[in-house]
Structures are given as structure tokens and as C-alpha cells.
Amino acid sequence: MIGGLFIYNHKGEVLISRVYRDDIGRNAVDAFRVNVIHARQQVRSPVTNIARTSFFHVKRSNIWLAAVTKQNVNAAMVFEFLYKMCDVMTAYFGKISEENIKNNFVLIYELLDEILDFGYPQNSETGALKTFITQQGIKGQHQVINITHCSSVRFIVSACGAVPYLLSALLMIPLHTFFLFSAFSAYQPSPFVSSDTVSLPVPQTKEEQSQITSQVTGQIGWRREGIKYRRNELFLDVLESVNLLMSPQGQVLSAHVSGRVVMKSYLSGMPECKFGMNDKIVIDKQGKGGASDEAGKSDLGGGSGKQSIAIDDCTFHQCVRLSKFDSERSISFIPPDGEYELMRYRTTKDIILPFRVIPLVREVGRTKLEVKVVIKSNFKPSLLAQKIEVRIPTPLNTSGVQVICMKGKAKYKASENAIVWKIKRMAGMKESQISAEIELLPTNDKKKWARPPISMNFEVPFAPSGLKVRYLKVFESKLNYSDHDVIKWVRYIGRSGIYETRC
């Protein structure tokens, strides 16, 4: 199992060092610094073996986290644990930076003592940890909002509740993609979201203590009993990143959508939830039984009226009963309180590619290149894509660039070796074009320019996979609120993952 865990700053100075096993000595700390952090060449592997000691590392901004072992440990588990450690730290004190780690080192030691015992990971759910970890996180001075660290989706959520969430949502996406399940709730969010989710004082009574321990070790380790909200509310975000690799001729070499369903729940008690989407397998099954198809009617966003989608694979948060999904393909769970990722999924069939990039590169002699790029938006005209950015790589020996574009702004960035073309908004079924003349310095470098692909970034208010949320039902038998009383919100955001066209 994990023998020790070290955190270093970018210089290789140790900020945190916790050793769990006798076979890991202080020299291991130095071995990693010398061989990995201070190594001259690029890191060639996230797992390094130095003198029969294995080091696993991940990097967050300029902080290195390294787990050390001398045994044949489960490598996947070690990395999952390191990510989890980052999540827990982020939940406690925001960004993982040298300053924040120094500010919270006592907390980190307490956490490390609790979530790793003799190198075996224990319960690491922040919600549960907060009930019995004595230290509280200290956030940096300019740390107002949390940013979930996951790189593919930069999704801003506030630390304390619904209000800024809604505001940002209203700013970001058109209203009509944003619909409610429950009959006619106002768009006005509740000002009464209770804030008892903040960590509790150290428990005193015996009942409290045993409640904590049974919760931390129990079947529902991610939620504690006795949560109360005056107003029960939940938010669902379908966040997709669409990935594409296209040949210069417009042939799709590979395309897939990786999506996440992120849920923020503010529900009282221990609610039993059931989540439904337009999963092809489920719809087909129901179709046979003659049930009416709700998914077709509620098609509000999206570019096509697809009724169901084929999901290649999905994974769930540990709250979801996997055996039930395996047998009945129904998604039922008792959610954690607050924000968490309910599921991840991947689709490869019938993806709506929001943009098509048509490149044209012509080499005029040895010192000039002509580049023309057309982008076409391929979704309903009523929808607006935002934050569009096209990145056209230029050769290293570029001496000057002239750009003309119909829409937006384009600039040659010498430091990045690329022309960056930005468009704020673009409606569906439109087309825009940029042309550039690139002048090159003559070189005697024999190696041809590698022509990196043209990449694109954007954000669209629908799910490129075609996924639709059909329902999210909430049952709490012990308390006096029903599914109808819960206010539910859903929105869809599609973003570019790695969206590249070769030229």
C-alpha cells in the first residue's frame, strides 16, 4: 500500500510529508526531488522507479503531489486517491497553491491521518469528513469562488448556494433551454437556502458521535442524516465536451462526446431519487410496452429531434446502485448534499458536430503561406454559440502575418505560433471566413513544418450527444414533502473538448 505521501512546491521544497510505512525513509523525499522535479528532461512517465521505490505523481498548477511505495500496489487506486486528495483539499480551501497549503498544513495532516490509514484509503467524502475533522479550511484572500479543477469543463459554481448560480446561468445561456420540470415554479430562486452545510462544531453528545461514526463507515457514507432545507431544490447540469479529429478533406477520423451530469441537491432528509434520460435501451424497452414517449415532446434544445441516444458507456458516482443499473438500467440513488457528479458517459454515434472547419493552406514559394479557413455552424438558427475561438498554427519561422476576417477579431500571436481568431457569438446555420498571408523567413532547416491541426473552442447551449433529461423523481417518505414540491432546474452546455481539423 501507499508508504508515504509528499507535497512539494515547484522548487522541490517539501511542504507536506507524511510517512505511513517503515520502509520509506526520509531519503525518498530527496530521491523524488532530484530525479523527477529537478530532472532536466521532460517527465516521461507519471510512475517512476528509483532504487526499488516507486513514485506516483500528479501536478496541480505548480504543486507536486507524490505517493511513494515499495510494494506492488494498485496503481490505479493510488492515482484515484491522489485526485481525490486534490478534490478534498479544493473543497476545504480552494485552489491548490503553495500559499494555501502552507496556510492549511495542520488541516492537511489531519486529513491525511484520517483518509489514509497505514496507506489504505478510507472514507474520503468531503461531506462526511467535515463532520469530524477538527480543523477548518482557510481560504486564500482572493478566493471568492471555487473552480472545479476538472480541465475539460471550466464551470463556475459558487461556494454558498443558488443565487450566483442562477445569475451566471442566465448570463450564459438563453432562457428557453432552461426549463423546469415541476409545473410552474417561478424563475426566482429561493432566498432561503439554509446554510447548515458548513462544517459542524466537534460533536459532544454520545448520540451525535455514534451517528457520525455510523455514517462515516456506513452504506451511505456520503450523506449525513438530519439535513433540513426550508425549500427543496435541485439543479441538474448536463455538461458535454465534444471531441473531433477531422481530416483536411472533411472526413471524420474520430469523434466522441464525453459528458457529465452534475447535480446540486438541496434536499431535506434522506431522499430517494430516480433519474431518467433518453437512453436508447430504456426507450426501446418502453416502446415495446406501448408507453408514450415523453422525450420526443420535450425536445427544446439541440439541433435535431433525435428521440433517443445510444450511450457507449457510463460510469456513476458511488451513490448510484450499480447492480440495479446493471439489471434494470434504472438510475436510483440517495444523493450527497450539495454539488457532485452523478454520472459520466460517452457516446460516439450520431453526434451533432456544432462546427465544421474547412482549411485551405497553400505554400507559395518557400517564403509565403496562404491560409484560408471557413467555419460553418451546424445547429438550429435560433441558438447562439459563444466564446468561439479558432487557433490556426503558424510555422516557427513566421516573420509576419496579415489577416482579414469577416467576423470577430483575429490576431497573430508570435509567442504561441498561432493566429487566434475570436468570435463572441454566432447563430446556427451561419458561415464565416478568415484568410491570412503568412510570410516566412528562409531557413535551411531540412525538417518540414509539422502542420499541427487547427483547433477550435466554443460553447453551445445544447447537448451535442442529443442527451435529454426525462425526469428526476424525488421520494422522501419520512418527511412531508413530495416530488411535486421539489423545484428542479436543468440546463445543457456543450463545449469543445479537443476539436481539431488537420490541414
Binding site: M1, V14, R21, D22, R26, S45, P46, V47, N49, V58, T69, K70, Q71, N72, N74, A75, A76, M77, F79, E80, F81, F105, V106, Y109, D117, F118, Q122, N123, S124, T134, Q135, V202, Q209, S210, T213, V216, T217, Q219, G221, L245, L253, S254, H256, D312, D313, T315, Q318, L322, S323, F325, D326, R344, K446, K447, K448, A450, P452, P453, S455, E500
Partner: protein, 949 residues
């Protein structure tokens, strides 16, 4: 208020100040002070002086302060064991605290304090905590048993904690079950034979129930433990698989990979015609693909595992080629791994896409990646015949880029393509020759030279080209020199008239001016061959070469099976068995896949046979000896001539055959014949051992050579134990084998007496070794030429090489042997004296000896007594010298002779020794120091044997 301020106190009187603060009355101040102490501890400052003061703060109701003090204790208790005892009372008291959090904290921390005195006091509280009413305390106590076992295994057994731990597997709380499983698995690893984790259908059922309820980490512990179970039949196997498959949808990749491991293992037992088998195969692909959208580090782990999975079961991912396409922004380690898998999945169906991708990659920036991509194109050509033409033209395009490393890599792979498709693509030779000057890497130069030599008749200026290489002959690497030698001989045989001078030049360069024995030997062989029988020479050197096989870089099947059992772990990331990187007894256990069950129905279907893996013939691989010598059980025993070094491609010349010749021939030629190229009697035959054709009858001559070598070499007086019976006739249907080992003239020999005590004649003898600690392997076939009639005995000397596959054995010098004859295959194991492995150049320089002695940590030193030995120190020294134990220095202190000695094992491990001999005292003391301390025991035994002999 933040904690970072604690890092900034660097004043001189710091310790004093802290002391005062720690003894303050105010709780807040104390807390602050402890925090400062911990900050200093983190940055490596020594604050152990504050131990008593910190311990004083321990008695408090404040949980926060208590946790801080415990943290300190864990760090320093070991350095201050006497002081640590002060804390015991508080610990014991805390283990009784009404608050379960404190009880658990106390028992957890106590387990982390590795002080013997404390462990004594730990037993009682631990016993109580294991039966605590609170699950949090129980789950902590379960792990604590593993901690205690690590400190004092005996204590844990004596106190009966193992039984209590086993009981916890039936606990009502899933997390307690998971931790108990984790602790038991760890303890079981260090007792490979104990039946500690007694997995039976009932416990399995309990584990599977807990699997649905416990945390993600607990699920990993349980799945990893399940993977060690062997179901009784295919039905049980299927029902476990059914209950494990839902885990494939877990968000935690480690849960997914561990589930994959269980499924991959249990699938072996399912009959292939079962519907469920197909369903399972289909279910495995999507989660594996999903792993590729995880964070890059996990992708890397996943890819290394997928690499194993596609080798074992290529059908799972055969349609998923596209997901392994490299993305521009992938980290380099992900790119390289993806490339590997792409080649493994390449088939006729997808080759066009793959090639288009590879061509893209060949223009990237990272040199390693580009090289690998170019090499991959060559591998595609060899693997998918239909694509060969396109691959060659792609490679030619790449050569036109003139990027130095691309060109070199391309030439290396084109050479392999020529080997696979002779007489097809030779038209490109002209293009290759244009790039001769830009080649600066040995491998590329050697490949080019091979091409020129092989196709000398089609290249007009072949002699000029080769001559140009000859100018700097001595600066070339061995690989290139050997290749050049062979190429010029080929040229000579093809165009004898114009190249006589050239061939003489190269032969004299190789035989007279070179210090390299391989090169010299090969030079002589050619020389003799050419001067005695040019026709035979032609047959040998220009013999038709067998085609090379399709798949390269395959992992040897037994290793692959073992690695499949380790999916998700470090072993699967390194592609090495755990014994290769884990110290001590842990992980030395070898795991195997279960065989296919339901033999009734499976025998008829041809596919099932290969599912069992055991009957599957190891795929033919471009020779690298390690791959060919599989586990004994796996190989059909044929005379080693067939499994021994097969005809090597030119690039592999110095392997196998040459190694084998190395020792004997060298001493023979060097001693007897000097540098003269005169013919020796019976030297025609060994020349035939040229890699170009290594066939059965040849090896007879080879052995003569060894015998001769033994005779000519100086009698070294090396110690050789008397023969003992290894295989009694009772056990081997009348064949009795007794034997011993000896080192003669630098060659390790296994000397055996085979006696036929049966009624019938025995023929067709063959021998094979299992992997062993020092890679011993037969260097030639077993020489029993005439049939062994009843009651006849024969003495056989089998030369051994040390280039075979290596696996650590227990005991270290254990050797498992299989002998075959026309009756049956027999297995026995024997132990060889390690002194046999001491090589002739084991004498260390004095200075080096001194430095090395100091450099090796004292922990590695072990001391032994040799009793009843009546030799003087000089006599002992002489005796040991005979067995290649060299005395470097002698010192006499107060009538005691100290001999400093060194020896070197065949695998390069040095052992340093100090031998103390007191006049008149028959007891010697040997101190051994070695970087690999596990050999010490064996070396000592040899010392005793050598001295007393």
C-alpha cells in the same frame, strides 16, 4: 489567521521559546506551539528535544490538540523509545474513552508507533477495539492488526488476532469487512503458504454482498482479494462474474480495473461456447475505452493494462482502434503507449487508417515518438502483408525528408521488411545507399551494412561502400563490427575475384587487432571456413534464412499470464513480475491464471484449448532467448537445439550461439593457438555454429569443443561437491540421475551420471531448466548419443550458460530440472553451490574494495561462523582462490589474520568478504557484504563447503 506563519520562525532560541509555550497554561497557546513544532518537523528540522514537553500536552479533552500531539508522536517515538513509553498510559486510557472517535484515534496512532515496548501495551486495547460496539473503531482496529503484524508478526499470531480478524469478514458493517480484507490480504502475502485468507464460497458470498455497500476504496480491496480466489467450477465462476460486472460502471477507474482483473481471470474458466462468455467479452470493451477519458496519469495506467489485455484477448478491443489514435495534446507517455496498442490492433481491416495516422505522427516533434512511429510502420508491413507495399512507399517518403533520425529508423525497419519479403522491395536499395553518410547510430549502420552484404550482387559498388566503413573499423561499436565482418565475407563469397584483399583486411582487423572475443572468434571461424572448404562456407554463410515472424515485442506467455493476474497494480504498469521490483518476501508468489474448466465439453471445441492458455504454443518471436524458454510446464520438451538459439537475423548475431561459444573457444584459441590462423584439428565443425544456420548435427561438434576446452584449460582446483542422487530410479521409471556441478575453465558444468535401472532401452534424452535465480540454462543439448541399455550408466557433462530467464528462487540456489526420455518427462530439483558462479575476473582493486566496502550500508553485512576448520590462513586463501574467491589483502592484528576477499557472480553481483582466522582456533568468522544481501547465506554455505573440502 493562517497557519503559514509557523513556517517562518527561524530564530535561534526557537526551541527554548517553544518549550516555554508548550508548558503554558493556556490551551490556545499550547495549540499554537504544537503547530509550530509540527511545521518545523515538516521542513526537516529536528525538534525531538521537545519530546517530553509535547507529550505533556497529550492529556487533554481537546480533540484538536490531541490529534496534533499524536502526529508529533508518530514522527519521533522511534528515535526516543524510552520517552515514548511516557505516552503509553494516555494511549491506553484513550482506548477506553466514551467517544468512539478518540478510541479509534488512539488505537490508530498507537499502531503507527513502532517501538517494541509500546507494542506490548497495544495488545489489550487492540483486542478490545476489535470487538468494539462502534464500527468506526472496529474498522480502524482491523488495519491496526496489519500494522502490528508488520512490527511483530509472531506477536500477532500468538495473540490470536488473526482469528479475530477473520471473524470481521462477517461483520455487519461493510467498511469493517473491507478493511479486514485489506489487512488479511497483506498479512497473507508475507505467508504465502498459510491458509490465512481461507476463501470458500461462503466467504466469497459475504465479500460480494459487502462489495455492493462499501466505499469505493473498500470495493477495490475486496475485488483485489477476489482475484486471488479460484472458483471450483465454471458455474461458480460465472455467478461471481455476474455479480462483479456492475462494478464496470463505477466512476472510480481503480474499481473498474480491479473488476476487469477479476473478470479476465475468471473468464479463463468459462467454456467458450457459452453465451455468457460472449456477453462478457462485449461488456469489457466500453469500460476500457472509457478509461481513456480519465486524467492522463490514469490513462497511462489503463493503457499499460490494455496492452496486456489485447495480447491475451485481442478480440475484446479489435473494433476500437480509433480511440487509440494519438491526440496532439496527449502527454508523451500516453502517446507512446497508444502507439504500441495501435500496432497490436492493426489488421487488414483497419490498416489504411492506421498507416495514415502513423504517417502523421512521423512528422511530430518528440524524437522518441517519431522513432517509434517509424518503427511502427515497419511493424505494420511485417504484420499485414497487404499493406507492405504501402508501408515501404511511406518509409521512402520519410527517408526523403532527410531528417536524420527518421532516416536511420526507417533503414532499420526496412531491413526487417527485406527479411520478411525477400526479393520484393530490393528496388529501394539505391535510395537507401544515398543516405549512407548520414547514418551515425550503430543500429542503423549495422542494418545498412547487412543490406549491402546481403544484396552485394545487386549493388555495383558494394565493395566500395563496405570499404568506406572499414576505414574506421576500430571506432565502430561491436554490433557494427560484427555485421561488417559478415557482410564482407558474404561479398567475398559472391564476388571472390575483386574482393580478396578486402576480406583479408577485415579478417586480420577482426582477429589480430581486436580485443573483443566475440569478434575475434567470429573472425577465426570465417577464416578457417574460407581456407578449408569454400563450398561449405558458402552453404553456411549464404544459407537461406528463415522468415521472421509477424508479431514482435510480445510478452512471454507465462509472464503475460502472471501480469494478467496483477491488472491494475504496479506490476502491470512496469510489465514486470512483482518479484522484480519488490523487496523481501512480498510479491514473490507467482500468480497463474486458472485452467479452463468443464473439460468435458471443452475438449471438442478447438478454441477452448487455447483459452486454457497452457496448451497454447508460444508464438514465434524474433529471437531473444528469454522469450523462447518458457516455463517448463508450458513447453513441450524438445531437444534444446530446437528451442535454443534459432537462426538469428543478422542483427541478433551476437546472441545465443556466440555467447555459447564465448568461454570455451576463447580460452582454447587464446592459449593454444596464439594469434595464428592455422587450422586446429576438428575445427571445421564449430564454424558451422554460425548464426546463419544452427542445426542439430552441428551441436555435436560444439560439445567436442567444450570437452576440449575443459581438457586444455588449467586444472583450477575449483571446489565441486561430490555427486548426489537427484532423481531416484523409483520416481523416474527406472532412470536414476546423480550429479554435481563444477566450474571448469570458466565454464559451468552440470556433471551427471545417468543410470538405466529399467528393463528397456532409453533413448531421446533431453533436458530443460525452469527459470532460476541466476538464469542458468543448458548451453547445448544433453549428449547421450547412444541408447542407454538396461543396467548401463553414462557420464554426461552439460555446459551451462547464464543467459536464461531469471526468477528468484527459494532457496536462492534451487534449480528445477526436467529430463525427458523416450518413456516420460521427469522433474527434480537440486541445489548448486553458488561458488560455481564465481567468475574468473572477480578480483577487485584494493582501492575499489575499500570504497565499496564503505559504500555498502552496514545493514547488508552479515556474519557467520565456520566451525572446526583447521587450515592456516594462507592455505585457506589458496583453496578459495581455486574457486575464484580472491584475497585482496591480508592483515594481522593481535595474532588474528584478517583476509579481505572479493568474488563476483555471473550476473555481476560483487560480494566482499572479511575472513578472520585465529591461529589455534578452529572457528573462523566470515563477514559478508553485498548489495544484494539475499545471496549472503548461500555464499557462506559455499565458503564452508570450499574450506572443509
Amino acid at each position: 489567521m493562517t497557519d503559514s506563519k509557523y513556517f517562518t520562525t527561524t530564530k535561534k532560541g526557537e526551541i527554548f521559546e517553544l518549550k516555554a509555550e508548550l508548558n503554558s497554561d493556556k490551551k490556545e497557546k499550547k495549540k499554537e506551539a504544537v503547530k509550530k513544532v509540527i511545521a518545523s518537523m515538516t521542513v526537516g528540522k529536528d525538534v525531538s528535544a521537545l519530546f517530553p514537553d509535547v507529550v505533556n500536552c497529550m492529556q487533554t479533552d481537546n480533540l484538536e490538540l490531541k490529534k496534533l500531539v499524536y502526529l508529533y508522536l508518530m514522527n519521533y517515538a522511534k528515535s526516543q523509545p524510552d520517552m515514548a513509553i511516557m505516552a503509553v498510559n494516555t494511549f491506553v486510557k484513550d482506548c477506553e474513552d466514551p467517544n468512539p472517535l478518540i478510541r479509534a484515534l488512539a488505537v490508530r496512532t498507537m499502531g503507527c508507533i513502532r517501538v517494541d515496548k509500546i507494542t506490548e501495551y497495544l495488545c489489550e486495547p487492540l483486542r478490545k477495539c476489535l470487538k468494539d460496539e462502534d464500527p468506526y473503531v472496529r474498522k480502524t482496529a482491523a488495519v491496526c492488526v496489519a500494522k502490528l503484524h508488520d512490527i511483530n508478526a509472531q506477536l500477532v499470531e500468538d495473540q490470536g488476532f488473526l482469528d479475530t480478524l477473520k471473524d470481521l469478514i462477517s461483520d455487519s458493517n461493510p467498511m469493517v469487512v473491507a478493511n479486514a480484507v485489506a489487512a488479511l490480504s497483506e498479512i497473507a502475502e508475507s505467508h504465502p503458504n498459510s491458509n490465512l485468507l481461507d476463501l470458500n464460497p461462503q466467504t466469497i458470498n459475504k465479500l460480494l454482498t459487502a462489495l455492493n455497500e462499501c466505499t469505493e476504496w473498500g470495493q477495490i480491496f475486496i475485488l483485489d482479494c477476489l482475484a486471488n480466489y479460484t472458483p471450483r467450477d465454471d458455474r461458480e465462476s460465472q455467478s461471481i462474474c455476474e455479480r462483479v460486472t456492475p462494478r464496470l460502471s463505477h466512476a472510480n477507474s481503480a474499481v473498474v480495473l480491479s473488476a476487469v482483473k477479476v473478470l479476465m481471470k475468471f473468464m479463463e474458466m468459462l467454456p467458450k461456447d457459452l453465451d455468457y462468455y460472449g456477453t462478457l467479452l462485449k461488456k469489457l470493451a466500453p469500460p476500457l475505452v472509457t478509461l481513456l477519458s480519465a486524467e492522463p496519469e490514469l490513462q497511462y495506467v489503463a493503457l499499460r493494462n490494455i496492452n496486456l489485455i489485447v495480447q491475451r484477448r485481442p478480440e475484446i478491443l479489435k473494433h476500437e482502434m480509433k480511440v487509440f489514435f494519438v491526440k496532439y495534446n496527449d502527454p508523451i507517455y500516453v502517446k507512446l503507449e497508444k502507439l504500441d496498442i495501435m500496432i497490436r490492433l492493426a489488421s487488414q481491416a483497419n490498416i489504411a487508417q492506421v498507416l495514415a495516422e502513423l504517417k502523421e505522427y512521423a512528422t511530430e516533434v518528440d524524437v522518441d515518438f517519431v522513432r517509434k512511429a517509424v518503427r511502427a510502420i515497419g511493424r505494420c508491413a511485417i504484420k499485414v502483408e497487404q499493406s507492405a507495399e504501402r508501408c515501404v512507399s511511406t518509409l521512402l517518403d520519410l527517408i526523403q525528408t532527410k531528417v536524420n533520425y527518421v532516416v536511420q529508423e526507417a533503414i532499420v525497419v526496412i531491413k526487417d521488411i527485406f527479411r520478411k519479403y525477400p526479393n520484393k522491395y530490393e528496388s529501394v536499395i539505391a535510395t537507401l545507399c544515398e543516405n549512407l553518410d548520414s547514418l551515425d547510430e550503430p543500429e542503423a549502420r549495422a542494418a545498412m551494412i547487412w543490406i549491402v552484404g546481403e544484396y552485394a550482387e545487386r549493388i555495383d559498388n558494394a565493395d566500395e561502400l563496405l570499404e568506406s566503413f572499414l576505414e574506421g573499423f576500430h571506432d565502430e561499436s561491436t554490433q557494427v563490427q560484427l555485421q561488417l565482418l559478415t557482410a564482407i565475407v558474404k561479398l567475398f563469397l559472391k564476388k571472390p575475384t575483386e574482393t580478396q584483399e578486402l576480406v583479408q583486411q577485415v579478417l586480420s582487423l577482426a582477429t589480430q587487432d581486436s580485443d573483443n572475443p566475440d569478434l575475434r572468434d567470429r573472425g577465426y571461424i570465417y577464416w578457417r571456413l574460407l581456407s578449408t572448404d569454400p563450398v561449405a562456407a558458402k552453404e553456411v554463410v549464404l544459407a537461406e534464412k528463415p522468415l521472421i515472424s509477424e508479431e514482435t515485442d510480445l510478452i512471454e506467455p507465462t509472464l503475460l499470464e502472471e501480469l494478467i493476474c496483477h491488472i491494475g497494480t504496479l506490476a502491470s504498469v512496469y510489465h514486470k513480475p512483482p518479484s522484480a521490483f519488490v523487496e523481501g518476501s512480498r510479491g514473490v508468489q507467482h500468480k497463474r491464471l486458472p485452467g479452463s474448466a468443464g473439460s468435458g465439453e471443452s475438449v471438442d471445441s478447438p478454441d477452448t484449448g487455447s483459452a486454457a492458455g497452457v496448451s497454447e504454443a508460444p508464438p514465434a518471436v524474433i529471437p531473444s532467448q528469454g522469450d523462447l524458454l518458457g516455463d517448463l510446464l508450458n513447453l513441450d520438451l524438445t531437444p534444446p537445439t530446437a528451442t535454443g538459439p534459432p537462426p538469428a537475423p543478422s542483427s541478433g548475431m551476437q546472441m545465443g550461439a556466440m555467447d555459447l561459444l564465448g568461454g570455451g573457444l576463447d580460452s582454447l584459441l587464446g592459449g593454444d593457438l596464439g594469434g595464428s590462423p592455422a587450422m586446429g584439428a576438428g575445427f571445421g565443425a564449430p564454424a558451422a555454429a554460425m548464426p546463419a544456420s544452427f542445426s542439430a548435427p552441428v551441436s555435436g561438434g560444439l560439445d567436442d569443443l567444450f570437452d576440449l576446452g575443459g581438457g586444455v584449460g588449467m586444472p583450477m582446483g575449483a571446489y565441486s561437491p561430490p555427486k548426489t542422487v537427484w532423481l531416484p530410479a523409483m520416481k523416474a521409471k527406472g532412470l536414476e540421475i546423480s550429479g554435481t556441478f563444477a566450474r571448469r575453465a570458466g565454464v559451468i558444468q552440470m556433471e551427471m551420471t545417468l543410470t538405466n535401472k529399467a528393463m528397456s532401452v532409453m533413448t531421446d534424452f533431453a533436458i530443460q531448466f525452469n527459470r532460476n535465480s541466476f538464469g542458468l540454462a543448458p548451453a547445448g543439448p544433453l549428449q547421450v548419443l547412444t541408447p542407454l541399455s538396461p543396467n548401463q550408466s553414462i557420464e554426461v557433462a552439460l555446459p551451462l550458460s547464464t543467459v536464461g530467464p531469471v526468477m528468484k528462487m527459494e532457496p536462492l540456489s534451487n534449480l528445477q530440472v526436467a529430463v525427458k526420455n523416450n518413456i516420460d518427462v521427469f522433474y527434480f530439483s537440486c541445489q548448486y553451490p553458488i561458488s560455481m558462479l564465481f567468475v574468473e575476473d572477480g578480483k577487485m582493486e584494493r582501492q575499489v574494495f575499500l570504497a565499496t566496502w564503505k559504500d555498502i550500508p552496514n545493514d547488508n553485512e552479515s556474519q557467520f561462523q565456520i566451525k572446526d576448520c583447521h587450515l592456516s590462513s594462507d592455505a585457506a586463501s589458496n583453496k578459495l582462490q581455486g574457486s575464484n574467491v580472491f584475497t585482496i589483502a591480508k592483515r594481522t592484528v593481535e595474532g588474528q589474520d584478517m583476509l579481505y576477499q572479493s568474488m563476483k557472480l555471473t550476473n555481476g553481483i560483487w560480494v566482499l568478504a572479511e575472513l578472520r582466522v585465529q591461529a589455534g582456533n578452529p572457528n573462523y568468522t566470515v563477514s559478508l557484504k553485498c548489495r544484494a544481501p539475499e545471496v549472503s547465506q548461500c555464499v557462506f554455505q559455499s565458503y564452508e563447503a570450499m574450506l572443509k573440502n
